[in-house]
Amino acid sequence: MYVSYKWLQEYVDLSGITPEELAEKITKSGIEVEGVETLDEGIKGVVVGYVSEKEKHPSADKLNICQVDLGDGELVQIICGAPNVDKGQKVAVATVGAVLPGNFKIKKAKLRGEASNGMICSLQELGFESKLVAKEYSEGIYVFPADTELGTNALEQLHRDDQVLELGLTPNRADCQSMLGVAYEVAAILGKDVKLPQPKVETVSERAADYITVKVEAADDNPLYVAKVIKNVKIAPSPLWLQARLTAAGIRPHNNVVDITNYILLEYGQPLHAFDYDRLGSKEILVRRANQGEKITTLDDAERELTTDHLVITNGEVPVALAGVMGGANSEVGNETTTVLLESAYFTGGAIRKSSKDHGLRSEASARYEKGVDPQRIRPAAERAAQLLTQYAGGEVLEGSVEVDTLKVEPAVISITIDKINRVLGTTLSVSEANNILERLQFTTVVEENEMTVTVPTRRGDITIEEDLVEEVGRLYGYDNLTSTLPGGTASAGSLTPYQKKRRIVRQYLEGAGLYQAITYSLTSAEKAQNYCLEVREPIKLAMPMSEERSVLRLSLIPHLLEVLKYNSARQIDATAVYETGSVFLSTAKNELPEEKEHLAAAITGLWELHQWQGEKKPVDFFVLKGILEGLFSKLGLLEQITFAKLEKDGLHPGRSAEVFLNETSIGFIGQVHPNVEKELDLKETYVFELSLEKLLHAEMNPLRYEAIPRYPSITRDIALVVDQTTTAQALSTVIREAGGKLLKDVHVFDLYEGDRMEEGKKSIAYSLKYFDPERTLTDEEVVKTHDKVLKALEEKAGAVLRG
């Protein structure tokens, strides 16, 4: 809502308060003032002049040489290119030395050899927004009414010596979509009175009821309809002050009748509509839901197809307006209009919202109906409009209104104690202090001891419960005046859950290991959603996606992490290592929430080690990422429970991928991205893993217990084994561990040979075994005995032969 400071002064005494000060006060007590605009900012030296002569420029077709009287009797020659400039007009003249918006300075000039001492201005040149300039002046200069005084400040004549406050209204403050509503608010803030307009209408003897009948078939949507008839109107421009007020509020002037309905909309917040009575085609108004497929051409010349959801005003046969949104072209007020049917109605928010939304049509009227208008302003608004139509359109108001009224108006009555107010706010206000605030808002109150019974005016439909009154008292008392305390009550120890704690440890570990945390979108494309899932399900689709790229919920974190790698690699970043923790979404039964699982994924590509001047350079490989993963399992005390098994999965390298098991449960996978995918994404060798974070973090681990530091020496035996190429290291170490029993403390691979010195299909793998007993020094004999057992088991169970 745009509020003219000058206009507001008509209702509230603002003396001694600048627009900026007012803005600050309004912001602090309830409505954010988003800006204060000075309409004539940066404009100087523009006066009203009279074009006494106009002749064609001898050497430019489109230019005219005008002799302009600026009120001091002397003529000033000005070249003007506007198509509508003419002898006898009163115009806005930027004189030599004048300044126009954008610091545009007017100087003496010669245009094609002819002197020009100033500029005749269009409204746009005087800082008007193009869309707010009346159509007749939109393509040329502005022409003042003939009685405008010469030599006066043109901006003052245009009532632009004003400032406009832009209010950012929250949905509850529908009351401030009107000047009167803002006036009540400002009066309450300043502790002043509101001066309301007092409509006085002189009527002629003819009765409106003889001209029109009104029927409402959709009383739920339209509980009150008021029609008035005004005869003998003369369509003309409305007075400049009125046009200026519309312009300041962001509404374009049209003609006196339309402007007056818009003026009332701004003043009372009550949308009105003026029909050309003679073009209505009947003597009847019928309000009903539209028939399915019925059509109407609205004032913006768009033909709209209607459904039974839409409320229309008809002439008994065809729609003449889309109720509460926009009038129909068939009954539009134009230059020939002499009799006006004026509509002031109460339409419910829901009905109007539906029409407005379905037709993508938001008007000043619909914006007000959607949020709710004051039911007690329907009639005064019509009266006030009728008054202005007699004053500024020469109309004669017929006696009476034709109404259909099923509206029940019941102001809210709320009782509240001062204790309640103080308990919520934390204040120590007295009843009279609180009551004083409510009275400033012009609420009617009855005080009995500690209790106030408040009758809320219908203009404040947002106030329905005690807490609403608490807010009114609080905001006008001023939140700055509240003290600062902290919640009392029983002290509670705050903490993270074990899961949340471990998740932080996972993040810290991975970052320590060299991965950066990424956060990517939960929404993805249907195509990407199918890749790299731990569990394959049908992706969950949005009902109305904004784009295909963000149309379904992700089933894996990897596709977006690969995109991150692609993005970075396309920018010459030669190494990227990222991880993400986030949800994936598994569909369940329709109309049930999906299963949301938190996953952990990582993706690495490019160089892993780079120490340039020492010539060390090593790209990522499977074992880099696997090492990181094993370190993580180790950190979580789970390494002993983890196994890896070869895995073939779409999108992964079939020979370099593994499924990860926690005991018997699969918890995810690790592998190289399939070379075809790498090629498609223009990536070098890339490795990924994705795990169920929940399975990982909920896994049982042994509690941390101190283990005595060895006091006895351990004995190490190295063995090189020849095994089938397909025998896995994991299988061998399992055999070794089982056979080695308690004395075997540690097993690890220290060499692998697969070269051509080996027999076809064989490889050599070397293990280092460490034997140890915490209680005593092992004898050679004992070690030999166990070690032989190990070798035997290796031969029997894995076909492993000691390499000679």
């Binding site: 602090k28 309830g30 954010e32 929250t170 509850n172 403050r173 919202r353 959607e370 308990r423 919520v424 934390g426 419960i465 609403d468 608490v470 807010e471 609080g474 939140y479 700055d480 003290t483 600062s484 305390t485 902290l486 919640p487 009392g488 009550g489 509670s492 120890a493 705050g494 903490s495 993270l496 859950t497 949340q500 320590g512 290991a513 950066y516 945390q517 990424a518 956060i519 979108y521 939960s522 689709k541 949005l542 009902a543 109305m544 904004m546 963000r550 991150v564 920018r571 970043i573 990227t576 290592a577 990222v578 986030g582 979404f585 109309n591 929430l593 949301e596 892993w608 001047w613 020492q614």
Partner: protein, 345 residues
């Protein structure tokens, strides 16, 4: 004989002094002091001497030996020292060359903000509550005093999956769920971080997905002054002790009264600059006293319990705190962006 010994001593010490390395020195030792050395040779002639002279000569010979031994030892120390020096000189490196890089990653800037806020509130006795990103309309809207058809639903156009299921538009449903779990018994003291979604086209200031952090306290005697005090602690810890806060009335369907909190601009300290649009204040979050309908719907007696709630966008906090100018950076994951958040003040 005496002369011969003196001569040998002089000769040996000369050679010792001229010795270039330890090997040469050892050769000298063997040559002069060894069993086959010249001193031994000289002493073989002792038999010819008188009984008087013999001990004198013996003493002299020992002295000569000692002198040479001492000379050798001193030289040895000297040579060893030189050898160490030479070795050290040879081992000298350019200490200004860069070290071996240790590659560590770091938190995403949003996680950093979220954890900082979590920790701050954990310190004040809050626990961290989380909930699903895909929500029921009931928890996202209805339980928060936003019945179907409520005009405020327009404020946050949403991604629906079915008529009753949508991507949550705020983390408030976590509050609704937590309150429900408490079955009408306070206190509740939670902080709820999480991803939320709105139908916005992604641009420099809008993102269809963003991170929200909300807080909720419900107890028997929670007042608006408690909200103000809590927010003050938050603002000062997050943005500096010198920050001031201001509460402005606002509107949210789930709180009444509702406020927005501004902090004094950290760039210009209230003087007026581009960041605060010349107002001296920067809007940080929305808050308010929990609406009685919300309390009642979750099973709390609104006559007995009151509460406050607040909510903010992690991106906005990060943008203000670190001067990030485009919200899309948080989701593009450009390495050059991610890496900047490794420093800890």
């Amino acid at each position: 004989m005496q002369e011969r010994l003196k001569e040998l001593q002089g000769e040996a010490l000369e050679k010792v002094s001229a010795a270039m390395d330890l090997k040469e020195l050892n050769d000298i030792r063997v040559a002069y002091l060894g069993k086959k050395g010249p001193i031994t040779e000289v002493l073989k002639g002792m038999g010819k001497l008188s009984a008087e002279e013999r001990p004198k000569m013996g003493a002299l010979a020992n002295e000569v030996r000692d002198q040479i031994t001492q000379g050798i030892t001193a030289k040895q120390v000297q040579l060893e020292e030189a050898q160490i020096q030479a070795k050290l000189a040879a081992e000298t490196i350019d200490v200004t060359l860069p070290g071996r890089p240790v590659h560590t990653g770091n938190h995403h800037s949003l996680t950093r903000v979220v954890e900082e806020i979590e920790d701050l509130f954990i310190g004040m006795g809050y626990t961290v509550a989380e909930g699903p990103e895909v929500e029921k309309d009931y928890y996202n809207f209805e339980a928060l005093n936003l019945p179907k058809g409520h005009p405020a639903r327009d404020m946050q156009d949403s991604f629906y999956i079915t008529e009753d299921i949508l991507l949550r538009t705020h983390t408030s449903p976590v509050q609704a769920r937590t309150m429900e779990k408490h079955e009408g018994k306070g206190p509740v003291k939670i902080i709820c971080p999480g991803k939320v979604f709105r139908r916005d086209n992604d641009d420099a200031t809008h993102s269809h997905q963003f991170m929200q952090i909300e807080g909720l306290v419900i107890d028997e005697n929670i007042r608006m002054t408690d909200l103000k005090g809590t927010l003050e602690v938050f603002a000062k810890k997050m943005f500096g002790e010198e920050r001031e806060i201001r509460l402005r009335p606002s509107f949210f369907p789930f709180t009444e009264p509702s406020v927005e909190m501004d902090i004094s601009c950290m760039i210009c300290s209230g003087e007026g600059c581009n960041v605060c649009k010349k107002t001296g204040w920067i809007e940080i979050l929305g808050a308010g006293m929990v609406h009685p309908n919300v309390l009642e719907m979750a099973g709390f007696d609104s006559k007995k319990y009151t509460g406050f709630a607040f909510g903010m966008g992690a991106e906005r906090i990060a943008m203000l705190k670190y001067g990030v100018d485009d919200i899309r950076h948080f989701y593009t994951n450009d390495s050059r962006f991610l890496k900047q958040f490794s420093i800890h003040e």
